[in-house]
C-alpha cells in the first residue's frame, strides 16, 4: 500500500532532530508524526525541524501534534521550526494564528544554521 505519509527522521549536530514529511498529515497519520518526533526527542533532540516541503495536505490534526511537541520542547528552551511549507500550509498556520508561534524557514540549510547555533 502506498502510504499517505512518508516520514524520514534523523539527528543533526547532536541536538537537532529533523523530520522530513511527504504526503498527507491528517487524523489517520498524525500519530506517526508524533511518534517519530518523540523518537528524536528520546535520542536527545532539544530542537525539532519539521520539513514540510513534500506535504500536500495538513489540517488541525497536524497542527495539534506540532503544538503539543512545541509545548514540550519550549519548557526546556527548545523549539519546533517549520521548514519549506507550501503556500497552502503557510495559510493554514496563519488562519490558526500560529504563524508567529512557530519559527518558519524557507529551506533546511538556513534552518539548521539558525537552530544549530
Amino acid at each position: 500500500m502506498e502510504s499517505p505519509l512518508k516520514i524520514e527522521s534523523r539527528m543533526e549536530g547532536g541536538n537537532v532532530g529533523v523530520l522530513s514529511l511527504a504526503g498527507e498529515i491528517d487524523i489517520a497519520t498524525k500519530d506517526r508524526v508524533r511518534e517519530a518526533a518523540e523518537g528524536l526527542i528520546a535520542e536527545g533532540a532539544r530542537n525539532l525541524l519539521v520539513d514540510l516541503a513534500g506535504v500536500e495536505y495538513m489540517d488541525s490534526s497536524g497542527l495539534g501534534v506540532l503544538k503539543g511537541l512545541r509545548s514540550h520542547l519550549v519548557e526546556s528552551g527548545g523549539q519546533v521550526g517549520i521548514v519549506s511549507p507550501r503556500t497552502f500550509i503557510k495559510k493554514l498556520f496563519e488562519r490558526a494564528g500560529l504563524d508567529q508561534v512557530f519559527p518558519m524557514y524557507e529551506e533546511l540549510g538556513a534552518a539548521l544554521e539558525e537552530v544549530g547555533k
Partner: protein
C-alpha cells in the same frame, strides 16, 4: 455539469480515521468538477476533513458506525452536509476549537444541526461566484 441543474451526490464511509481521506478525496473531485479554483478546492477539502475528523474523534457511540456526506450542487453553490449519527452538539463561542474555526475560515457558511435519525450534522457552504 450544466449550470442550471441541481444534483446531489452521497457518500457513506465507516466512522474511522483511515476513511476520512476517502471523503476528502471525493470532495476534491466534486469541487474541481464544479470549477472552483485549486485554492478553493483545498479550502473545501480542509473544511470537510475537519468535519469528518470531529465525527471520528467526538462520536464514541452512534446509531450507525458511519458518516454520511451529502454534496448538493446547483448553479449558486456547493453545500456539503456531514451527518455523524452521534449525540449531536451545538456551537457556542466557548467550546469552539481549531476545527470549527478552520471550517468557518475555509467556507462561506457553516451551520450545525442535529436530528434524532442522522445525529449531529455540520453543513458547509461555498458559493460558486467566489463571494
Amino acid at each position: 455539469m450544466s449550470a442550471a441543474t441541481a444534483a446531489s451526490v452521497e457518500l457513506r464511509i465507516p466512522r474511522r480515521a483511515e476513511f476520512v481521506r476517502i471523503a476528502r478525496w471525493m470532495t476534491t473531485g466534486v469541487a474541481a468538477q464544479l470549477g472552483f479554483t485549486m485554492d478553493i478546492v483545498k479550502d473545501i477539502e480542509v473544511a470537510l476533513g475537519e468535519a469528518c475528523t470531529n465525527a471520528v474523534e467526538h462520536v464514541k457511540q452512534g446509531r450507525k458506525n458511519e458518516i454520511l456526506v451529502r454534496f448538493t450542487m446547483d448553479d449558486r453553490c456547493l453545500a456539503i452536509e456531514v451527518f455523524d449519527y452521534g449525540p449531536g452538539f451545538s456551537i457556542d463561542g466557548d467550546c469552539e476549537g481549531l476545527g470549527l474555526m478552520l471550517m468557518r475560515l475555509c467556507m462561506d457558511k457553516v451551520e450545525v444541526a442535529c436530528d434524532a435519525e442522522t445525529g449531529g450534522c455540520v453543513r458547509l457552504v461555498k458559493y460558486r461566484d467566489g463571494s
